[in-house]
Symmetry: C2
Subunit: 199 residues, 2 copies
């Protein structure tokens, strides 16, 4: 399917069939998400995947009535990673392994270190979260491309999610994606025309 | 092309051929961007498209040496819209025109109004910018799907951009996308494996 058709036809699906998506399919979805672009290629995200019912039920109680959290096959919790030293080290190691020349590697490290140092902790979180939103787009388009229904959600309590999932303090749950086999077509898409989004 | 292949093959392209992209192609790209998902479907984004050299040269001086701003065919300035009353009204009018039942329309309006009221001006900007980052993903995937090269950029001065472009105060330049016909393959993609992004 052409990309334009994909984004045109994709809808947010909140009702799922009572069947589990195969782990191989979820893995492919994670691969797609992991291919997302990010500034300075820092990829400041981590994903917690939940498929067991008990945890989904617990997490549901930390949402504002988002039923799809407990009725989906898999719930993806997209987290912003705020541990910049670790993020920068990880990229540098990957670049070394990929044979990136030392001077380019050092330049990337300097740029990322300067950026990180120029921001307050709140700004670092905000910055990482922006990158997570890029990954979110690939998550929902990717789910649709794999024949799955998905729905992005922000109406939840991040601190409670972090506690239930036992996340380290550097990871901040930012947006959820429920995934499963669709049991509904999803609401019709309503978008403003191009003339309306131009300035 | 399958979506996974698209995100795998797409690269950030910073060198462009010296030719203008047709306006019809840019329009199609804008359609793709406009189809992006957003929370409560508020679509809090506006896009300024620049193709004249004089303005591109002026904008270049408000970046941190991002040469592609002046060498691209078209520069897309993705702006976050922070005028929530207008955004909410616009969606409500579109829903009315599309025949959305009054109770659903009112519910969406109430939800958006409550959300807006619960946020500080800084949070409203941050929230709109997160939605812009979703649209950014479709912009760069969309450009690639149309045979174009593109590169996202955040290393610029938003206030200077707003002044040069004469933007109203509710619109905050958030991220740039340079677009053109590729004159280079773009750097090889380097991404962490799925095992590394899971928590």
């Amino acid at each position: 399917m052409e990309f334009k058709e994909l984004v045109k036809n994709r809808r947010s699906v909140r009702q799922y069939q009572n069947m589990l998506v195969r782990e191989a399919t979820i893995h492919e979805l994670l691969e797609i998400i992991g291919l997302s672009v990010s500034a300075i290629n820092l990829q400041p995200w981590k994903i917690k995947v939940i498929s067991d019912q008990e945890t989904k039920d617990k997490l549901f109680s930390a949402t504002f009535g988002m039923n799809q959290v407990r009725t989906c096959s898999h719930l993806l919790v997209l987290c912003a990673d705020t541990d910049y030293p670790a993020i920068i080290d990880r990229l540098s190691r990957a670049q070394l392994a990929a044979g990136v020349p030392d001077d380019m590697r050092q330049r990337a490290r300097d740029m990322a270190t300067d950026l990180s140092a120029s921001m307050s902790p709140e700004q670092r979180l905000q910055w990482s979260q922006q990158q997570v939103y890029i990954a979110l787009g690939n998550a929902i388009n990717g789910a649709y491309s794999l024949g799955l229904g998905a729905c992005p959600m922000t109406a939840f309590k991040p601190a409670e999610f972090a506690q239930i999932l036992g996340l380290p303090s550097n990871l901040v749950p930012t947006v959820l994606v429920s995934v499963g086999y669709s049991a509904e077509p999803g609401p019709q898409k309503l978008r403003h025309p191009v003339s309306d989004i131009l300035v």
